[in-house]
């Protein structure tokens, strides 16, 4: 499947809304993720205070990022690890390729990593004759489907059970699995059995990192399946691919984030596996990797520091913002056409890819504010989305029709008497148009809106008129 492009957001959205499979998959997301998170938050009375502390810690780290990264590097090296500083996606891919070639790697197993998605590592490795094998079940499913992830923690969340059944039959039949499994336990087991040998055969295992600890030079992964641990324990080399802002000062500080991450992400009190890795295997160890490498990727993050989107660097990639976003819930992740999706993606992608390329994404929001409410590190996502809209406008990326509309609106808004008069005229006109049943079936200037629903007709007075009539009292 050709990668969808962020520039085609509007077409992608129309297609997504007509996709029955997607609608049924997304309905499950709504029914599950939102109450699960709320339950976990309710079970921990200190959740808000922990969130607040997490936010402070991230701000503290970002203000001293150079210090903590240098300290991380020092302690990682002291434990026998290697640190590779990579300014760009290309640098990171090349560094990984070099490590793979040092052991003449044929296959590489991979745990789930959004940074690996960001640098399009799989395509790069394939181009250079190395087979990447995704081992997270969701990532494995979309690798078979040839699709990018549609959610940062549930990459195959857009797939229904039936679609997974078809996909497994299509790809596993050549491995002798010719029975189409239809129930989740059998499907999970089939993937487990097929991937088992791959862990043992791989030359290199690549994982991401949720956190790096400056104090100990360690990386942390948080998973539920155990695939990340098999990936990093069995091959000769463990490569951690991660980005600058993941560093935290101490084990205790990492612990504070661990207490809010799973609760925000999946609604679990704690994920099944939280693993802290420090350097390669030690003397006397009978398992574990012989080499441990950390790829530290910048790719635009240092430029975000201290600027308008600085707060986005606090993101801990829990996915709560997209789970609660009415736009994401309706159109799914692929519509965004970027690796990072939903509200966090609509803020991060313009910073990583440029605002011209991604100008539709900050507009794909009603600014309802639910994303900010559930963000465990209080990223002001609606404010940042508005900032990107302003930047797109300044850069001349806004379509002419929209610019004229804004110009006309601004003309009236600056002249309150004229605005009032125009609004009165419009309200009376719309009320007259909808006089029969109080609804408007279609409006020539808002067809996109009325195609899918009726507009309730105004009752004939403007808000300001009614406000004056009530003597400006709320109740």
């Amino acid at each position: 499947m050709e990668f969808m492009k962020p520039g085609a957001f509007k077409d992608n959205a129309s297609n997504a809304l007509a996709d029955e499979n997607l609608r049924s998959a997304m309905a499950m997301l709504n029914a599950g993720m939102i109450p699960n998170r709320q339950g976990a938050v309710d079970r921990l009375p200190e959740f808000e205070k922990l969130s607040q502390r997490g936010r402070e810690l991230k701000d503290h780290v970002l203000g001293n990022l150079d210090f903590y990264l240098e300290r991380f590097e020092r302690n990682c090296k002291a434990a026998g690890g290697h640190v590779h500083w990579c300014s760009t996606a290309e640098d990171a891919c090349q560094a990984i390729l070099k490590i793979c070639r040092s052991v003449d790697a044929k296959t590489v197993t991979k745990g789930k990593s959004m940074v690996a998605e960001e640098i399009h590592l799989n395509q790069f490795l394939e181009k250079h004759g190395i087979e990447p094998v995704e081992t997270d079940l969701g990532e494995y499913i979309i690798q078979l489907a040839g699709e990018p992830p549609s959610h940062i923690i549930g990459p195959a969340i857009h797939k229904t059970k039936d679609q997974v059944s078809d996909l497994f039959l299509k790809h596993h039949a050549k491995l002798g699995r010719t029975v189409r499994q239809t129930e989740p336990p059998a499907l999970v087991n089939e993937a487990r059995e097929i991937l088992r040998q791959k862990y043992f055969d791989a030359d290199v295992g690549i994982t991401g990192a949720n956190y790096l600890i400056a104090e100990t030079g360690s990386s942390i992964i948080v998973t539920n399946e155990g695939n990340g641990d098999l990936t990093q324990t069995l091959p000769k080399i463990h490569i951690v691919i991660t980005s600058l802002e993941k560093v935290v000062p101490t084990l205790e500080d990492a612990t504070t984030f661990l207490r809010i991450l799973a609760r925000s992400a999946t609604g679990q009190d704690f994920s099944a596996y939280t693993t802290i890795s420090t350097g390669p295997r030690r003397e006397g160890d009978v398992d574990g990797p012989e080499e441990y490498h950390v790829i530290l990727l910048d790719n635009g993050r240092s430029a975000m520091l201290g600027g308008e989107v600085n707060d986005m660097l606090r993101c801990i990639r829990c996915g709560a913002c997209m789970n609660h976003c009415p736009v994401y819930q309706s159109v799914g992740g692929h519509t965004y056409g970027t690796v990072y999706v939903g509200p966090m993606g609509a803020v991060l992608s313009p910073a990583l890819l440029g605002v011209s390329e991604t100008k539709h994404l900050p507009c794909a929001s009603t600014l309802c504010g639910r994303c900010e409410e559930v963000c465990p590190v209080s990223i002001p996502l609606p404010k940042l989305l508005r900032q990107w809209r302003a930047r797109a406008f300044e850069a001349g990326d806004t379509p002419n029709l929209e610019r004229w509309g804004l110009w006309i609106w601004a003309f009236f808004a600056r002249r309150p008497w004229l605005y009032g008069a125009a609004a009165r005229l419009a309200m009376r006109g719309l009320a007259w148009l909808g006089r029969d049943n109080g609804r408007l079936r279609n409006l020539w200037f808002a067809g996109g809106w009325t195609d899918g629903r009726d507009l309730p007709a105004p009752e004939g007075q403007t808000f300001q008129e009614r406000w004056r009539k009530r003597d400006r009292r709320v109740s």
């Binding site: 922990l50 150079d66 500083w85 399946e225 504070t256 295997r281 975000m304």
Partner: protein
């Protein structure tokens, strides 16, 4: 310019300052060396009986099974009974830990035991753990010559023998114990791997249905040795 210098330079430029002064670095260094705990939730606190109960409740809440035995000599029989009772394989790989492998396994004629790292065909592992955390029913296992990490992930069924005195309230208490056990000069060196294990392997990647045994163990059984009776 190397990637390292370019990145550190770009960070400093964005922050609008040069490299931190020695004094500023000293302050940050203190944050690291003092490593104060942040907020510890109330659920991680309580008397011994409360913490032990919370550990068991939380572990069972994430699909672990827990059995309490009176002393360590009862462990091999408890493992044998568990495997037989659940119709599981009886070939067991033990962690090469002197305490664990020193228990009387030969007395269990049903079990066939060996020690070492886990191979692809190993179905059952029995390991000790460094600690248990009541807060979320989490086991903490440290890698080392006597504690291969593969035993925690490769076999289908994982049994952990834990003493009640190893159970603490909060994760932070584990870090304190870890720093003492792995002290080196003025600092400490982390073990290669610290595994915090909360229940068996699980996934919700197919239609958001939770399934156990995605890639790691399908079940996690905790044999809890009550070694605090005298104090109580």
């Amino acid at each position: 310019m190397s990637g390292r210098d370019a990145i550190l330079g770009a960070i400093r430029q964005s922050l609008g300052r040069p490299e931190l002064s020695t004094e500023a670095k000293r302050g940050l260094n203190e944050h690291i060396t003092k490593h104060h705990a942040n907020l510890i939730p109330g659920r991680a606190k309580g008397d011994r009986a409360q913490l032990l109960k919370r550990f068991q409740d939380m572990a069972e809440g994430v699909s672990c099974t827990v059995e309490i035995v009176a002393d360590e000599t009862a462990v091999p029989a408890a493992v044998a009974d568990y495997l037989r009772g659940n119709n599981l394989p009886t070939a067991v790989t033990l962690a090469p830990d002197p305490w664990l492998s020193g228990l009387d396994w030969a007395g269990q004629s049903l079990l066939e035991t060996k020690t070492g790292a886990a191979g692809i065909d190993d179905m059952v592992s029995v390991t000790p753990a460094f600690a248990g955390v009541a807060e979320t029913g989490t086991l903490v296992a440290l890698s080392g010559a006597a504690h291969p990490t593969t035993l925690n992930f490769v076999p289908d069924y994982h049994v952990v023998a834990l003493r009640t005195s190893q159970i603490v309230g909060a994760y932070e208490e584990v870090w304190d114990r870890l720093r003492k056990a792995y002290k080196q000069g003025r600092g400490f060196t982390m073990p290669r791997t610290v595994n915090m294990i909360t229940g068996p392997s699980r996934t919700a990647d197919i239609a958001l249905t939770i399934e156990l045994g995605a890639h790691g163990p399908r079940s996690l059984h905790i044999v809890l040795i009550d070694d605090e009776k005298e104090q109580a």
